[in-house]
């Protein structure tokens, strides 16, 4: 069974939503995950927290910090994926930084991730050059190590990234951090076009996409979009009120994103 492959081969423009495990608190993370899937997210990215999230802007940094304060670990984040797998068939992707994974050990990490029923892993600070050992471990268990490309990635390197990658190609929309402003007409488009012409990996674009409009503009050149900071920020805003408002805010945003994509790219099952 390959849930990512099935999703993309259906021709559907995919909506991937990022949530941080253990944020805003254990239990509520699971509720949020199920709610956003119900609201139209196609892929769930489960962030496992790290003390020094270099590629993240203030919003996801704060979520990661709270998650750690709540006692979240890599093992607990993987367990969350496992619990979600009991309740959904949507592709689940674990996302975070290299050190917790390295510290757990690649073989054990691969075992646990596969055991939980997750489909892919994204590691923000494990570029092509250093990703071989983890990629091999995961491959052995049928889990994709989803590669990332940036707007300044050379075409030659992109080729190598696509050749060794699986799941999908995550194109970062700008030379910036999560939560920075999205630019629709920017160098990432050229990269996305080249990658899609190559044809072997679906392309998702992320970083900065914060509303339906961004999503529609982004997905013209891609097979899917990834939304993180905007959802985390919606949750933070809701939390000022109540747990319910937090869930509601996230659901509203995901509905807006999903219906904008659906409107532009009607999908008949």
């Amino acid at each position: 069974m390959n849930r990512l492959k099935d999703l993309f081969s259906s021709g559907r423009k995919a909506l991937a939503v990022f949530l941080t495990a253990g944020f805003p608190e254990p239990g509520l993370d699971e509720e949020l995950a199920l709610a956003v899937l119900d609201a139209g997210a196609d892929i769930l990215e489960i962030g496992f927290p790290f003390s020094d999230p270099l590629a993240d802007g203030p919003m996801i940094q704060r979520a990661s910090e709270l998650s750690l304060e709540n006692g979240t670990t890599l093992a607990k984040s993987i367990s969350l994926a496992g619990r979600l797998r009991q309740k959904t068939e949507a592709p689940l992707v674990l996302m975070g930084y290299a050190n917790p994974v390295y510290h757990m050990g690649y073989p054990e990490f691969a075992d646990r991730v596969a055991g939980a029923g997750a489909d892919g892993v994204i590691v923000a600070d494990l570029p092509l050059d250093e990703s071989g050992p983890l990629r091999d471990e995961l491959k052995g268990k049928g889990v994709s190590l989803i590669p990332m490309a940036a707007p300044n990635t050379s075409v030659g390197r992109l080729d190598e990234i696509i050749k060794t990658g699986s799941g999908f190609l995550y194109i970062v929309s700008m030379t910036g951090l999560t939560g920075d402003a999205f630019e629709a007409e920017a160098p990432w488009r050229k990269l996305a076009r080249i990658a899609r012409d190559e044809g072997s990996l679906p392309v998702c674009v992320g970083f900065g996409i914060s509303n339906g409009d961004d999503a529609v503009r982004a997905v013209r050149e891609a097979d899917g979009v990834i939304v993180g900071t905007a959802v985390i920020s919606a949750i933070f805003r809701g939390l000022e009120d109540s747990r319910e408002a937090a869930v509601e805010n996230a659901v509203d945003l995901v509905r807006e994103l999903a219906s904008a994509l659906e409107m532009e790219y009607p999908f008949k099952e």
Partner: protein
């Protein structure tokens, strides 16, 4: 004693440590930097210009001073001090920043950024940026801003913008995070001047290269003075730049190399900065090296009385020297460093930086077994910046 790799391999690994564990967006910048660095060091005119600036501007070669009294120096053992404190701006840091800022100019970069802990690297970067007329921003943790106030004012006087970092403990690790984030956002026109032999390839080899002038000079000076090599070479280790720069010239010689880490207030997590002595291998700030981490692979906050050693990681080349056993590493606690500062200053008439004081304290504590030996110490910097800490801890200087 096995012979360690002298240079990192083409992927930036010193044995099994090093590499480039960074977001993809930084890879092209690191490729450019590596190429520019390799071109520059092979270019006679770059090296000649750098050497002239090191001499005429920074005051190199720094002298080798024979210690007179400290802990039996001059009677029980020979102690030679490589006076990096006599560099312009008061520490070894400027050897590296002049080299890197020259490289930035060569690459056509328009803006300099840096992180700083003790403020020494920040001051040295702001100085080099001023010399070459480039705008400069320095990230500094709020805790460090409080304890190194004079250096903050110096950076501002030099025209640099000091950007306070509130995250985490507000120390060096957090400043590096913010500097890297700035670099990610402004990667095309900005040059990140990293202050120690840490980070993704090519930083560890580049910083060690620019600092290797310390060991090269010291070796020649020591030979001239004593007709032999030192028996022991000692340096303090934060990220490891002054130590790597000092040790590098002696790697193939029958010389005992000793690095001193921050022992802080104890061996429990959070109380010290001893990545090599008490840490384990992990991936942090762009390379695989010894780091301080918990059971989940989260980075543990370091502690040291000296801001320059208050860092939960260390350069990958030191990790390779630890595992190959080419270098021995020990740790010295806050109290010992403070006490040694006081004694050494009165004995020698030199106020050392608190970072250096850790290495000085180790020599004092090891005096009995050092009898008859000839020792070289890298006196990495002067202690003026630490006056507030010394006064608040009631150290009698």
């Amino acid at each position: 004693m096995t012979s360690p790799a002298r240079v990192p391999d083409e992927r930036g690994f010193f044995g099994s440590f090093g590499g480039r564990y960074v977001p993809e967006v930084l890879i092209p910048a690191l490729d450019d930097l590596e190429k520019a660095f390799n071109d520059a060091v092979a270019d006679k005119s770059f090296n000649d210009t750098l050497n002239v600036i090191l001499a005429d501007y920074s005051g190199r070669p720094t002298p080798l001073t024979t210690a007179k009294r400290y802990a039996g120096a001059g009677t029980s053992f020979v102690l030679e001090l490589k006076r990096e404190d006599l560099n312009h701006t008061g520490a070894h840091k400027i050897n590296n920043t002049l080299g890197q800022v020259m490289l930035a100019v060569r690459m056509g970069k328009e803006r300099i950024i840096a992180e700083t802990g003790a403020g020494q690297h920040g001051v040295a970067t702001a100085t080099a940026a001023a010399l070459f007329g480039l705008p400069c921003a320095v990230y500094m943790g709020v805790e460090d801003i409080a304890r190194q106030a004079p250096n903050v004012e110096r950076m501002k006087l030099l025209g640099a913008e000091v950007l306070p970092v509130e995250d985490g403990a507000g120390t060096l690790k957090d400043a590096v995070n913010e500097a890297m984030r700035d670099w990610v956002r402004n990667v095309a026109g900005t040059f990140y001047v990293l202050g120690s032999a840490v980070g993704p390839h090519p930083y560890p080899v580049m910083v060690r290269h620019f600092q290797s002038v310390i060991g090269i000079e010291a070796k020649e000076q020591f030979l001239k003075k004593h007709g032999q090599l030192p028996d022991i070479v000692v340096a303090c280790v934060g990220g490891g730049s002054n130590a790597a720069g000092t040790f590098y010239a002696f790697l193939d010689d029958p010389v005992r190399l000793v690095g001193i880490e921050a022992g802080g207030t104890g061996d429990d997590p959070g109380l010290h900065g001893s990545s090599l002595g008490l840490g384990s291998p992990g991936i942090f700030h762009g390379s695989l090296s010894y780091i301080l981490q918990d059971d989940d692979g989260q980075i543990v906050t370091a502690h040291s009385i000296s801001a320059g050693l208050d860092y939960p990681g260390v350069g990958p080349e030191h990790s390779s020297w630890l595992t190959s056993e080419r270098v021995e590493y020990f740790r010295v606690r806050d109290e010992s460093a403070l006490a040694a500062t006081s004694v050494f200053t009165r004995d020698e008439g030199i106020l050392p930086a608190l970072e250096t004081a850790h290495a000085i304290a180790w020599i004092g504590e090891s005096a009995a077994v050092l009898a008859g030996r000839k020792i070289l110490l890298c006196l990495s910097g002067r202690g003026d910046k630490d006056m507030e800490t010394l006064i608040s801890r009631e150290v009698q200087v």
